[in-house]
Symmetry: C2
Subunit: 628 residues, 2 copies
């Protein structure tokens, strides 16, 4: 049996396709074969069939799809021939396409994007027959074209210099029959002949970490393909605040950050070109979402004052530029719309989520929470919306936690406590530390068994009765105070114990307290009790990875029945797509951003009290009432 | 006596100031002193006190201003301390500033620009106090600024990216008190504090040979200073048609020509900066005139089809761009308006002349002629205007004439015939050839004495009776046919005779016939006889240098009493200035260009017949009726 692996490799900054044919024997999985021949397939669980990350696209005869694959892959993915390399076994000659490392980032979740819109973009194409010039009428090419457009009922338009340059040649090449791409009163392109059949746009979500772009067919309203890359600004700081600081050092630094993210966007565009064959110059419309700071940096506008009280952005409403102004490698005259921001820390990405989830139009009371270093929260009641941003700090990313780490290889991401502690780590490795979702799990479990009380205090072993002895052993007092041993040194990668200290619990309480206080304040403003919340939407990647039960158990989220909680994944980009294909949605985005109330938590006199209250953990009884 | 010379020298493309101190003794003129020490002062008459070109600015004691200087210098120039170096004699220590060679080009004639306009430019400045940001209202800087403007009764505006970049800093530096420069709905600049006291613009006339720019105070409507440079496109061809040909070789060539003329414009801007101290970034509005082809090339738009029937420009109406788009070194957001063109060969320069001379509003019937390789002609009757372009060819520039040359050193520029031929040449040199104005003079004189008849035939000496013998000697027949010796070989620079051949006369007939046929056709269309013409305006440099009597004698111009003929000089740039300081004039320019009739002569069935008729010279009697 021949197995042909196909993958992408980055050589000197450019992606190129590689291929290798190997001979398979026996019952080896695709993953084992790849490892044998040094072909890299990402599998964070080490091939144990648990992480679901070793996705490959296979053509040719394979074994049946396993139970686990049915669980870890979506129906859509299965329909596309996607399998997990650790389960797939060739039954004949097969072709295995391996997604690139960056494509791996594409954990694009569109579950929540149940909004669709009538396809009616604000950019249109018109086929026009322009009158040929005659001796008697000295009208210019531009004037005859505009008159032909106006005759067709069009508005008075402007033709930018970039389009003018080639206009005389295009008119004559095409026998004066051309297709005009028009955005409002701006002519974006004039093509030879009739090209009205195709119209392409791009929807971008510029995240602090990752940039995701979708190529959209603006006639069908469909996403043709998606590509993602790491935001090239990462070299200048991992989080928003450090980027703001860097940009505040002057125009050179600001321009460097702008260039970095544009390079990333152009990389995504080039990936999409490779995937779809649609060349960039045929793309004539772009819509961008991102947090307020990312929007500023992408435009090269100083974000300095976003980070200083009173947290004022340079612009908050929709911003239109052209691709050429930004250095975006599509048609340089293509309009690029940055969706409006609500405030310095409630950005266009949140507006995108609101549009994608139809939050304003949903019946009932809906709470949307996007958990991160800054948690963006929107509460909606019959169309009225209020929003806020809660500064949770980096605890959810594992920072400022004694054994904390990012959600990478070796991170404890799942904890269960019965007779003893059971953990699950990311990747085929011994535990190295604990990540955000692991921390939430851990504390939730410790609350369940009573090792942590509702004030967050680690109980002394002597105070606990009837606790399994293996758990009791883990409770101890070190020089730093009380702590709980999560993983003993003999079971960790570096031999050091992974512990949860009293201080760690306090850090978590601060983080979850900030988010919860935000939701409490918004609920208070609209007069909505926890039990009145009809839907609780979790946006973004983190919201997708945490266990909802645990998040609720520690009081990160208000107490609502679990079935009302739903992850909506990367709804921000879906919002961008909807605005791209529908001018009604685009206008709605502006309207929503403008009408959405914003509450600056630091300006609320009742915030401190709410924060204090929210730092406490829910008591067992009130919790149990809801959770199953 | 110490004489300090100060002048500009171009070193590696940059102008820098040079200085030299010399000791003067006796009664030497400044010009002689300069020559002694190898310091260049332009004096085309060789220091004979006739050309008036050796202008210098002198500080310190000098001899009295001579009679001739009073004639050759304007009162304004004299008031500024300008003297002619060939007359000025130091009477103590003096400082002599020598204008650069390029400034020398500044024979800017504004005699005809009797139009003025109420100063009301389309660009305005507003001082605004922007509300400071507060915690409760997360509006961006842009939004608060725009709201403050709208509150002040302003329109909804757009702030371009270039202005946004620095907006947050400017607002905070200035305590939120700023000056907004607004053009229509575009914000061109936001300055710290109150800068409403100053507002600057530029008026450019882009000629095929020379670019002239004036710095305008938009509050006063006055020209602060003027600078001129040779059009850098000259390297790519001397005339319009060769530039079009070059540009038609592809986008690289086109861009090269655009770059060349922008470099020239930027040179003029830098000269104006030096002269006035007004730094380029404070300039926020630009208006440009030029022939249709120069307008295309300055914008980087292909002029290919202007040169091919049906002579269609890429654009004919007003074109607005920004300085940044063009690479013009003023505020990059400054709007740059190219005045409208009427047709491929009746450009914005002609529209500028029409605006400057108020042609449309003048009572009576006015004929405006701009003589050149292409003669632009406008005839106006009570506001109705028709225009045409007559292809005169290069005869007026001395080309295709056996002893023809440009109006440079050694060119016969003036001819008088009495007992013999008397000529005047440009510069202190023996004659080398004959230029356009000399040719017109010569033929006019030969017509007067009957050596040429009305058909243009050089008479045989035998046919002429009572002619002075010295003239008879000059009439002869060579192998090329009949010819007239203008200057004998012993009196020329190279020992070769300067002759006028029968063929030369035919060339002149073709050239003047084309112009005259153009005016005849326009007169025919409006039903205006020669004697009905109330005013005849001669625009441009050539119209200023030819002797009106001679031009009329050879039938280049229609027969009107001499006092009705007037040179309006470089009225095109005056028109640009008026449009810059008055939006009413700018709108008028568009209206005029649109309403002005255009006649394509090659499309008129009666053109050939008119051309044939116009090639003839007027008979003596009909001529004498008018010309004294």
């Amino acid at each position: 049996m021949q197995v042909t692996f196909i993958w992408q490799e980055q050589v000197e900054g450019r992606w190129s396709q590689r291929q290798k044919q190997v001979t398979a024997s026996g019952d080896a999985t695709v993953l084992r074969l790849a490892r044998e021949y040094d072909i890299k397939i990402n599998a964070t669980c080490g091939g144990r069939g648990r992480c679901g990350r070793c996705k490959v696209v296979v053509q040719g005869p394979l074994n049946e799809v396993s139970q686990m694959e049915r669980q870890l892959l979506t129906k859509e993915e299965l329909a596309k021939g996607i399998r997990l390399a650790c389960y797939a076994r060739p039954q004949g000659d097969i072709w295995v396409t391996i997604p690139t490392g960056e494509t791996e980032l594409l954990q694009i979740l569109t579950e929540g994007s149940d909004q669709e819109a009538a396809v009616e973009p604000d950019i249109v194409k018109e086929f026009v027959a322009v009158p040929e010039p005659v001796l008697e009428a000295p009208d210019g090419d531009r004037e005859r074209l505009l008159e032909a457009l106006a005759g067709a009922g069009g508005r008075i338009c402007q033709i930018p210099l970039g389009v003018m340059t080639r206009l005389p040649e295009i008119l004559r090449q095409s026998n004066h029959r051309v297709t005009v791409t028009r955005w409002r009163e701006h002519i974006v392109a004039v093509d030879s002949g009739d090209t009205t059949g195709e119209l392409f746009g791009l929807a971008f979500d510029i995240g602090t970490t990752t940039v995701v772009g979708g190529l959209i067919d603006l006639h069908q309203g469909k996403e043709l393909d998606v590509a993602a890359r790491l935001n090239g600004q990462a070299a200048y700081g991992a989080d928003v605040i450090s980027r703001v600081e860097y940009a505040s050092n002057g125009i050179t630094h600001l321009k460097r950050l702008q260039r970095a993210v544009m390079d990333t966007l152009n990389g995504v565009i080039s990936d999409l070109h490779e995937k779809t064959g649609v060349s960039p110059e045929r793309i004539s419309r772009v819509v961008v979402v991102g947090n307020t700071c990312m929007q500023h940096l992408a435009l090269g506008v100083s974000p300095t004052y976003i980070a200083r009280s009173p947290y004022t952005p340079a612009f908050s409403r929709q911003f239109d530029a052209t691709a050429g102004q930004l250095g975006l490698a599509v048609n340089p005259e293509a309009p690029v719309t940055f969706l409006p921001n609500v405030a310095g820390f409630v950005g266009a990405d949140t507006v995108g989520v609101v549009v994608a989830t139809g939050l304003a139009d949903r019946n009932g009371r809906v709470l949307m929470v996007d958990i991160g270093t800054n948690g963006e929260i929107v509460l909606s009641q019959g169309g009225r919306m209020v929003s806020c941003s809660a500064a949770a700090g980096p605890a959810f990313e594992g920072a400022q936690i004694s054994c904390g780490m990012r959600a990478g290889e070796g991170a404890v991401e799942f904890v269960e406590i019965g007779e003893d502690v059971e953990v699950r780590v990311i990747g085929q490795t011994l535990p190295r530390g604990i990540c955000g979702s692991g921390l939430i799990d851990l504390v939730a479990e410790l609350l369940k068994v009573g090792i942590i009380d509702e004030t967050g205090r680690l109980q002394d072993a002597s105070e606990l009765h009837g606790l399994p002895p293996k758990l009791v052993e883990r409770i101890r007092t070190s020089e730093n105070g009380a702590e709980f041993v999560v993983v003993w040194g003999k079971d960790t990668a570096d031999g050091k114990e992974i512990v949860l200290t009293q201080r760690d619990i306090r850090e978590l309480q601060l983080a979850k307290g900030a988010i919860r206080a935000g939701t409490m304040i918004l609920q208070r403003i609209l007069g909505i009790r926890d039990e009145d919340i009809d839907e609780l939407l979790l946006a973004g990647a983190f919201g997708n990875y945490i266990r909802k039960e645990s998040a609720m158990r520690i009081g990160l989220l208000p107490k609502v029945p679990l079935e009302r909680v739903r992850s909506v994944g990367n709804a921000a980009r879906v919002g961008a797509r909807l605005c791209l294909i529908s001018q009604a949605k685009l206008q709605e985005a502006s309207r929503l951003a403008k009408s959405m109330g914003y509450v600056e938590l630091s300006g609320r006199p009742d915030f401190q009290e709410a924060f204090m209250e929210a730092m406490l953990f829910p008591q067992s009884e009130e919790y149990l009432e809801f959770a199953r």
